[in-house]
């Protein structure tokens, strides 16, 4: 896992100044979270990791913000539907390679199948699984490769920094660097942690709601 993290360097993260301290790690820094990133054979070129998974040990209060582009990808529609019926989630599965946008009903069915398969492996309800996709618009997910990779992906889950790093690399497309950060701060006199990862390099002018 850590070897695959090194395929592209990490981005410099410029945090605004404030009452927080940057700490090592990303999405796994906060208590209860695990992550993994592996190569699942979805990318057209190269063997950079292309499947990422973030899980939570407990039901996590969930929120989402999504593109307002009318031509929304199947996973966007799926997540909006799922968040409208459930206030919690336990897992986020992300693939790079195919955006699964402009793929019609077949693309939406692919999302449901992937979420259901992962939910079965993680022993949770499919409504606890959220999906994100990125890559070439107009192409469905390489579902066979993704489904075959899920057991390995689940087995690779780790609460370590390497787990977060590998996931941050696995969601990249044309990115030259991976983006991951975590901070620690005080809320009501208690220490809390927020971590995150992101990807993006082109087709970038978000207008999410």
């Amino acid at each position: 896992v850590s070897a695959s993290s090194n395929l592209i360097p990490a981005a410099p993260i410029h945090l605004p100044e404030g009452p927080w301290t940057q700490i090592p790690g990303g999405v796994t820094a906060a208590q209860g979270f695990k992550a993994a990133g592996i190569y699942g054979g979805l990318r057209a070129k190269g063997e950079k990791p292309d499947l990422a998974l973030v899980t939570c040990d407990v039901d996590a209060t969930s929120a989402g913000s999504f593109t307002t582009n009318v031509v929304a990808a199947a996973p966007v529609v799926y997540c909006k539907n799922t968040l409208s019926i459930s206030e919690t989630a336990r897992a986020v599965l992300i693939n790079a390679g195919q955006a699964n946008a402009a793929t019609g009903d077949a693309g939406y069915q692919d999302v449901i199948e992937c979420a259901s398969a992962l939910a079965k492996l993680l022993k949770m309800g499919p409504e606890e699984v959220l999906i994100e996709s990125t890559g070439v618009v107009g192409q469905r997910i390489k579902k066979g490769a993704l489904l075959e990779s899920l057991p390995n992906l689940v087995n690779s889950l780790s609460s370590s920094i390497q787990g977060a790093d590998s996931a941050a690399v696995a969601i990249t497309t044309t990115d030259l660097v991976s983006k991951s950060v975590a901070v620690e701060s005080q809320v009501g006199g208690k220490t809390i942690t927020i971590g995150g990862m992101a990807k993006g390099s082109g087709m970038i002018h978000p207008n999410m709601a």
């Binding site: 989402g64 913000s65 919690t88 082109g202």
Partner: protein, 220 residues
């Protein structure tokens, strides 16, 4: 496409968490631009495990909510800026700060208009301290302001004040842009549009020949 996953162990109710996440998204990811194309897939998912044992946040006005919001804004801004920094073909990050707006939303709208300007982005790649393109992009943002109060600063170099172009050391200003490009650093543009308290920021990158090369070869 931009994707994001945010995790925290703070304790927060569902409706407040969803509002906080959207506020932070508006202050971060929705304030970046690389090429003006809004993706079909842009998504941010945010999960709160509640395992920290911190006080439960159930009101946006509470002190704890303000503290958590500030942290959430910071994390998302850090990630958002790294996306703009890594814009396809970019040699530098552009940070636009607008002050003097009537409110945060108006200042943010002007900031993003400036950061989005293809002409300004090309000028910065050309190391051209082109105050006219900055002023122009501020002017068409759709936010009315008093032109006589327009002030534009590039790094520490005053380019416009009171709506009037200023005498400045063009070579030094160009050198500022050149150095930022050589070290993949940050170009800071500060725009003031009046006396209001609204402050907004946006982030973008310069526009290079490589952007066309990358996207001519990436099949949609």
């Amino acid at each position: 496409t931009m994707l994001g996953v945010i995790t925290t162990d703070a304790v927060v109710t569902s409706d407040i968490w969803r509002k906080m996440v959207q506020i932070a998204v508006n202050r971060s990811f929705n304030q970046i631009t690389v090429d003006g194309d809004t993706s079909t897939n842009d998504t941010v998912i945010a999960l709160a495990s509640g395992l920290s044992g911190s006080p439960r946040i159930s009101s946006l006005q509470s002190e704890e909510a303000v503290q958590l919001q500030a942290c959430l804004d910071a994390v998302m801004q850090g990630l958002a800026k790294s996306i703009a920094w890594d814009g396809e073909g970019a040699t530098c990050l552009i940070e636009v700060t607008v002050t003097g707006g009537q409110n945060e939303a108006e200042a943010a709208k002007i900031a993003r208009s400036v950061a989005s300007s293809s002409l300004l982005k090309a000028a910065i790649y050309g190391r051209d301290p082109n105050w006219g393109r900055i002023a122009c992009a501020a002017g068409y943002a759709g936010v009315p302001f008093d032109l006589t109060k327009l002030r534009v600063v590039l790094g520490d170099i005053l380019l416009m004040d009171g709506g009037e172009p200023q005498l400045f050391d063009r070579a030094a200003a160009s050198d500022y842009l050149k150095k930022a490009g050589e070290m993949h650093g940050t170009v800071e543009i500060k725009v003031s549009v009046g006396d209001g308290l609204g402050i907004g920021q946006a982030w973008g990158c310069d526009l290079s020949y490589d952007y066309v090369k990358i996207n001519a070869e990436y099949t949609t």
